[in-house]
Point group: C2
Chain length 314, copies 2
């Protein structure tokens, strides 16, 4: 927590704004009627590269020294962070290398390459990924940009909630999904500094409930056998992220995949937007605890829309 | 054409504005790069009831005499117009009856009933529909609100293009899909009055190309064996609509269903929004004739987003 201040959050937001979309906030009178509450959906699925990850990646690169930017950046990712870093690096004219598992979906590999990053394949396990990253880093003198476990990433992700709070200053509650905790910690910090009466909640899949267990035991869970459709949330919360989450969240609500799929479908049908499963987890949590949030004004960060359209769960 | 003037179009827009969304305009840098043009998508899929049809239905009801509104309105429809009329009638506290074929999808029947309209079933053919409508009209003294072939419907639909032109005043071209021609005629009138240098184009499915044939023969085609995935465009152009289309359109471009599906998928992937097949027809036309529209600033009316998510063609 000591690493953060309102000034750091504001500076990150100002730093990255020229490169990113100020995403719109949507609502649906039918969803509101059904839930007896007012919901405001911050659409990061419309963000550059299709997820909020473009915010943190841009902030992290812009915080590097000129000499570091000249040499380039690296990460290991098979998901939204890899695409976001590749895009941000191209936009800022910084070389970018991404370590991807050899079994990564072709479409994700193509997206990273499409942004001009160099892809290095490794065996599909964490040891191989980390070894691959280390080797590439040393060979080219690259700066590692982690997906969530870093102050500059969290500060970048915080800008989504800061914009939502500016658009809707009287929220009773704000929800985000929790995976590694980059978006969640950033969301909690923005609410804490800029809307202190707003309570902050995480939605988490039951099949990857490390954050829930860490939050209520007080000890960070660092191993997880994830089993959930929400592929963006299959990681443990990071070390930098956990104390922020512990200090600032009111609750973590876990949901089943069936609840997530129902919420996802409701968003497709009523908001008419494309989202990925992870993105529907917070709405699933609100629906599950409808009575508790009755009559509240609730902000929901919709995290991303990178979904395989041939594999929609309905 | 004599039935219209800039004042009539402006009055309709002002009349319906309090009840409807001013829908957003989206763009995608990746779509623009791919086409070598600037595309602006007017998102009527976000409109009340999920399509532009809410505009015309609202305008038509608001133009009725007080005594007519008291008795109520009726239409026959298994698609977006039925839902739009049911919604607008409920919003304006006017009784509404909708004749629907006995084989209409349950979800569409439920939507119409959900807005509080009375549904009457008939055999699934035009004769039975018209007989059913006539009987219900006479029994309750209802005003028939047709789906497209009426001045007040066209004037209502024109407001979508009027808003787009206000947001983006320098368009070289504006596209809409053509079915009965309500949206298309309204779009052409708004461009004619408020942006006369903008050329107006229709996209039409090859498997329902009555508008194309009418436009180039000069004689209105009134029978059609439609065979297309674009279910909103399986009707012939109306008598009131045709002279406007003939006078004001630069071209009608026909596309195959395969081209429509590819354009639909591009919109899901890049704009991250949910649309129905009919809605993708204009983009399919621009993609087909990419060279012709190179470097142009092009407005596209995205007509609606009411699609069966279990039947997506990809």
């Amino acid at each position: 927590m000591e690493a953060f201040s309102p000034e750091i959050i504001l500076a990150a937001r100002k730093r990255i704004a020229p490169y990113l979309h100020r995403t719109p906030v949507l609502s649906s009178s039918q969803i509101n009627e059904r839930l007896g509450a007012e919901l405001y959906f911050k659409c990061e699925n419309f963000q550059k590269t299709g997820s909020f990850k473009a915010r943190g990646a841009t902030n992290a690169i812009l915080q590097l020294e000129a000499s570091e930017r000249e040499r380039g950046v690296a990460t290991h990712s098979s998901g939204n962070h890899g695409q976001a870093l590749a895009w941000a690096a191209a936009r800022l004219k910084v070389p970018c290398h991404v370590i991807m598992p050899s079994n990564a979906p072709k479409v994700k590999v193509a997206a990273v390459k499409g942004y001009g990053a160099k892809v290095h394949f490794c065996e599909p396990n964490l040891t191989a990924r980390e070894a691959g990253l280390k080797e590439v880093q040393e060979r080219y003198g690259l700066s590692f940009i982690p997906p969530f476990d870093h102050v500059n990433i969290i500060a970048g992700q915080s800008s989504a909630a800061a914009e939502l709070i500016e658009d809707h200053p009287n929220l009773d509650a704000i929800f985000a999904p929790i995976g590694g905790g980059g978006l969640m910690a950033g969301t909690a910090l923005s609410a804490h500094y800029f809307s202190p009466r707003t309570k902050v909640y995480a939605g988490e899949p039951e099949g990857a409930d490390d954050a829930f267990r860490s939050f209520y035991s007080g000890e960070l869970v660092t191993e997880l056998q994830a089993d959930t459709i929400s592929d963006g949330l299959r990681t443990c919360v990071g070390k930098v992220n956990f104390p922020i989450i512990q200090a600032l969240l009111s609750d973590i609500i876990t949901v089943t995949d069936a609840e997530t799929i129902a919420a996802m479908r409701l968003i497709y049908e009523r908001l008419k937007i494309v989202i990925e499963p992870s993105c529907a987890v917070p709405l699933a949590a609100v629906i599950q605890q409808k009575e508790r949030f009755n009559k509240q004004r609730i902000g929901i960060i919709l995290s991303g829309g990178n979904v395989d359209l041939e594999q929609l769960p309905f």
